[in-house]
């Protein structure tokens, strides 16, 4: 088109700011990170970095704490992602069926989503502390245990505390995503099913679920990326302790970068591995759930 040709330079002008910012602060660091992962990288004046080939990758794979961090991250993902989706969808279905107070409910359920991670992580650290609210409930009110549980001083209980935080904070986000999807399902489908004598449960599995598949996929991908992005809650609640047992990949990478040793090459290799894992999971999710292009 003639018009487009005349406008070529203008299109360039519109593209430029975004491309420059992305180029300098995203594309360049990504490429640099891949390069660094093959070097024993030194930061600072007059330091030379030597090429070490795959050494950093071998170090990552043979490092028990890297393995712990990866297992912890997966544990966090495997618990929080389905947990958030199921509970978020449950709340969305409930809210979708009521008229009065639906806005009020939405407001309350969404509140943890907008609250900063630092704030809620501190709050949960306080609640899960030895003399905290949760232990009080468990020992003195519900009488489940006699001794207060040291939630934050053992690997799996500390991680579980973090996953509870992750689910609690994420329910509202999922609720909003699924509410929008539920409202887009044509009401005639349900009417027809009712006529045929389908109960509420059957309707949910045969009508609701297939029709909101696209949103479930969207939530799955976003939440998996989010789970691998976890840094603040672990940093604030356990700091990776005890003895690095609760590290997740990003906290471990951070530690490797800025600890006294400053293993930048190692940290870069770890990041590359994480990026590849996340990419693989996302692609698999897309392939797995989207065979009939129903989005």
């Amino acid at each position: 088109m003639d018009n487009n040709l005349k406008n070529n330079w203008r299109i360039g002008v519109l593209l430029l700011p975004g491309l420059v910012i992305l180029g300098v602060f995203t594309f360049y660091p990504i490429i640099k990170m891949i390069v660094m992962s093959f070097f024993d990288w030194k930061i600072g004046y007059k330091q030379t970095s030597s090429f070490v080939g795959l050494r950093n990758y071998i170090d990552v794979f043979s490092d028990p704490i890297a393995k712990t961090a990866l297992v912890n991250t997966l544990y966090y993902a495997v618990i929080t992602v389905p947990g958030q989706i199921v509970l978020g969808l449950f709340v969305a279905v409930l809210i979708n069926g009521i008229k009065k107070f639906s806005v009020t409910f939405r407001l309350f359920y969404y509140l943890p989503v907008i609250t900063s991670w630092v704030v809620v992580a501190l709050l949960f650290r306080y609640i899960f502390s030895n003399q905290g609210l949760l232990n009080y409930m468990l020992t003195d009110i519900l009488k489940c245990t006699d001794e207060p549980i040291g939630w934050l001083s053992h690997r799996w209980t500390a991680l579980t505390a973090t996953t509870i935080l992750g689910i609690w904070k994420g329910i509202g986000w999922n609720m909003v995503v699924f509410l929008a999807a539920l409202q887009a399902v044509p009401i005639e489908y349900y009417d027809a099913a009712s006529m045929d004598g389908c109960g509420a449960v059957k309707q949910f599995f045969y009508i609701t679920l297939p029709n909101i598949k696209g949103s479930i996929l969207f939530a799955l991908v976003m939440l998996f990326i989010g789970a691998f992005n976890t840094y603040t809650p672990i940093m604030v609640i356990t700091g990776g302790n005890p003895a690095h047992q609760t590290e997740v990949v990003l906290t471990w990478m951070y530690y490797q970068t800025f600890s006294a040793v400053g293993k930048m090459g190692y940290a870069s290799a770890l990041s590359v591995i994480v990026a590849i894992i996340v990419a693989i999971i996302s692609v698999v999710l897309f392939k797995f759930i989207k065979p009939d292009n129903e989005i």
């Binding site: 593209l15 975004g18 009521i98 939405r106 704030v119 329910i171 509410l179 990326i225 990041s271």
Partner: protein
């Protein structure tokens, strides 16, 4: 279903939802009441969700507001939020417009790259980013946070805004060309106003980000006067031997004030922005 059982199921819905709300807000209430109790009492056993009225005090708030640089942290965070939102909204809507409307060289590749970058956590590139920040003298400088936050938020913002622009009819573009308008006219007169719901939605998300990002900000904001709220709160917590919860919670409650105000006023954009992304997938 007959009317009676319909009513029953409605009541059950309300009961479950109300119990859920309790689960969601009890921690929040606990935080607020803890911030109103004297520090000596925050570890008193048994813990109280609702303290006695006579015990309430504003001492913690006074301490945080008068003895700490709270207003400095808050203004730093607001500056970072405002500028990164502005830059990101501009850059992302321009990118989104061009990708949606024009077939330029490398367009599909660029869009694929932008989508792929969404998969990589910004903090994963910590090492090269830190080196870059050192080279560009962005350490202990608010610009170091603003520029990186902008770059991190552009991919998702572009993705959402582009999806929205795809749905704006092209006839309006054609009419503007007929009247002798240029790409700029279309962008500023048609695209920006019509895509404003999506731009508003991503802007709100981007605005909240500086209130919660810790990893990068704590890496490059090392001077107290430069700190944003998440860094300041974390430092404050560690500096107080991890025990003065009253002070800590007063600070966290105060830090939430702008966020909650924005949430209450712009609620519908939170919802609309998310849903457009969710349905388009």
């Amino acid at each position: 279903m007959d009317k009676n059982s319909l009513q029953k199921s409605l009541i059950i819905r309300y009961i479950i939802l109300a119990l859920g709300v309790l689960f969601m807000i009890i921690p929040m209430i606990y935080m607020i009441t803890s911030s109103l109790r004297p520090n000596s009492m925050t570890f008193s056993y048994p813990p109280q969700i609702f303290p006695k009225l006579s015990q309430l005090t504003l001492e913690n708030y006074r301490y945080v507001l008068l003895r700490q640089n709270f207003f400095q942290y808050m203004s730093n965070t607001l500056i970072v939020a405002a500028l990164s939102v502005l830059f990101s909204a501009l850059a992302a809507s321009m990118l989104g417009y061009c990708i949606s409307r024009f077939k330029f060289w490398g367009r599909d590749f660029l869009y694929t790259v932008i989508i792929t970058i969404m998969l990589i956590p910004g903090l994963a590139m910590l090492v090269p980013e830190f080196e870059l920040a050192v080279t560009l003298k962005l350490v202990n400088n608010l610009w170091g946070v603003i520029l990186f936050y902008t770059a991190w938020s552009i991919p998702f913002s572009t993705f959402l805004i582009k999806g929205y622009i795809d749905g704006i009819p092209k006839e309006l573009d054609e009419a503007t060309y007929m009247d002798g308008g240029t790409v700029f006219t279309i962008f500023f007169r048609i695209i920006i106003p019509m895509a404003s719901p999506s731009i508003a939605a991503v802007s709100i998300f981007n605005f909240l980000f500086p209130f919660e990002e810790l990893g990068w900000s704590q890496t490059i904001l090392k001077i107290d006067s430069m700190r944003t709220l998440p860094v300041a709160i974390t430092q404050f917590f560690q500096a107080h031997n991890r025990t003065d919860w009253g002070y800590v919670f007063a600070m966290t409650c105060l830090s939430m004030v702008p966020v909650v105000i924005i949430y209450l006023f712009l609620q519908r954009y939170f919802i609309s922005g998310l849903s457009s992304g969710a349905i388009k997938g």
